[in-house]
């Protein structure tokens, strides 16, 4: 973006859209296990996700942009996760939170857990941890914002 002398901002339509989109990512109210407690902590006053424009946890997938898969995805839950993802409108993004969602975690050798939610839905940002701290999830959100704006981390 370039700032003109007369206080005029010139940009492309695309950049403006990306800027607006990345600063109002509304997550879905969707918690599966203990990671959801940390997700709630992110939304609460100490970590405060609203500094990044994501404080509005929508109760309907039709109104949300981001799915934070927070917690163990069991095989029985996997078709439901897929259906919720399908009901979200484009553009939609997914953050995989916690090692259970990444590759099964402590349930890796179990009988009932999906070994990675990326076998069910496409994932944009992976946040490892058991559970990840609120700071880690905020870092994941900022990474997603950079990804939406087309910036690189390095």
């Amino acid at each position: 973006m370039k700032t003109g002398d007369a206080g005029i901002l010139t940009t492309t339509m695309e950049k403006a859209m990306e800027w607006g989109r990345s600063n109002s990512i509304w997550p879905l109210t969707f918690g599966l296990a203990c990671c959801a407690i940390e997700m709630m902590a992110v939304q609460a006053s100490k970590a405060d996700i609203s500094r990044f424009g994501s404080e509005v946890f929508r109760n309907s997938p039709r109104q949300s942009d981001l799915m934070i898969v927070s917690g163990t995805v069991t095989k029985k839950m996997a078709p439901r996760v897929r259906r919720l993802y399908d009901e979200m409108p484009y553009p939609k993004y997914v953050i995989a939170m916690g090692v259970c969602v990444l590759q099964g975690g402590p349930y890796n050798q179990g009988y009932s857990v999906v070994l990675g939610v990326d076998r069910v839905i496409p994932v944009d940002v992976y946040v490892p941890g058991c559970p990840p701290t609120p700071e880690a999830l905020i870092n994941g959100l900022i990474t997603l914002q950079k990804k939406i704006r087309g910036e690189t981390d390095r």
């Binding site: 095989k75 029985k76 996997a78 078709p79 439901r80 996760v81 897929r82 259906r83 050798q109 009988y111 009932s112 076998r119 069910v120």
Partner: protein, 152 residues
């Protein structure tokens, strides 16, 4: 008449009683009449050659717990749903995960896993190498299959 072997008190100070499978209903009825009106939980233990079934009973009035153990070699145990109604779901859970068949249960079917799941996951001889998948049809019914292409 009912053959009850009493064991020394366990670590958690709960009295343990061993009952033969045939005497289970009679013994449980007498415990119920002694004031143990709450069936706290039912567990199963796989000892490879036999299955051990453990009942934790609680007396609400006296705040007292006892443990009743029985064992079976052919996976069948009489149901105690006629004594405690709450045994219904506990026994269904044990059937679902341990494969214990409770004779006389009014509705013995899987409670956690979907219908069509093969095997009982908490048994020692459960085959983990055969991965099973769960899918959902339009009306929300689950079904299990071995086909990975049938997945999500």
């Amino acid at each position: 008449m009912v053959d009850i072997i009493e064991e020394p008190v366990g670590k958690d100070k709960r009295k343990i009683f061993r009952v033969k499978k045939e005497d289970l209903i009679a013994a449980m009825k007498s415990f119920f009449e002694q004031g143990f009106d709450h069936l706290s939980l039912i567990t199963g233990i796989d000892r490879r050659d036999k299955i051990e079934v453990v009942y934790h009973l609680h007396s609400v009035e006296r705040n007292e717990y006892i443990v009743v153990k029985t064992e079976t070699i052919n996976d069948t145990v009489p149901s105690v749903t006629s004594i405690w109604q709450s045994a219904d779901w506990d026994e269904r859970e044990q059937y679902d995960l341990m494969g214990i068949i409770f004779e006389g249960h009014p509705n013995l079917k899987r409670i956690l896993l979907p219908e069509g799941w093969s095997g009982f996951p908490l048994r020692k001889n459960y085959d983990l190498s055969k991965v099973q998948f769960v899918n959902m049809d339009e009306s929300g019914n689950d079904y299990a299959s071995f086909d990975p292409g049938d997945g999500w």
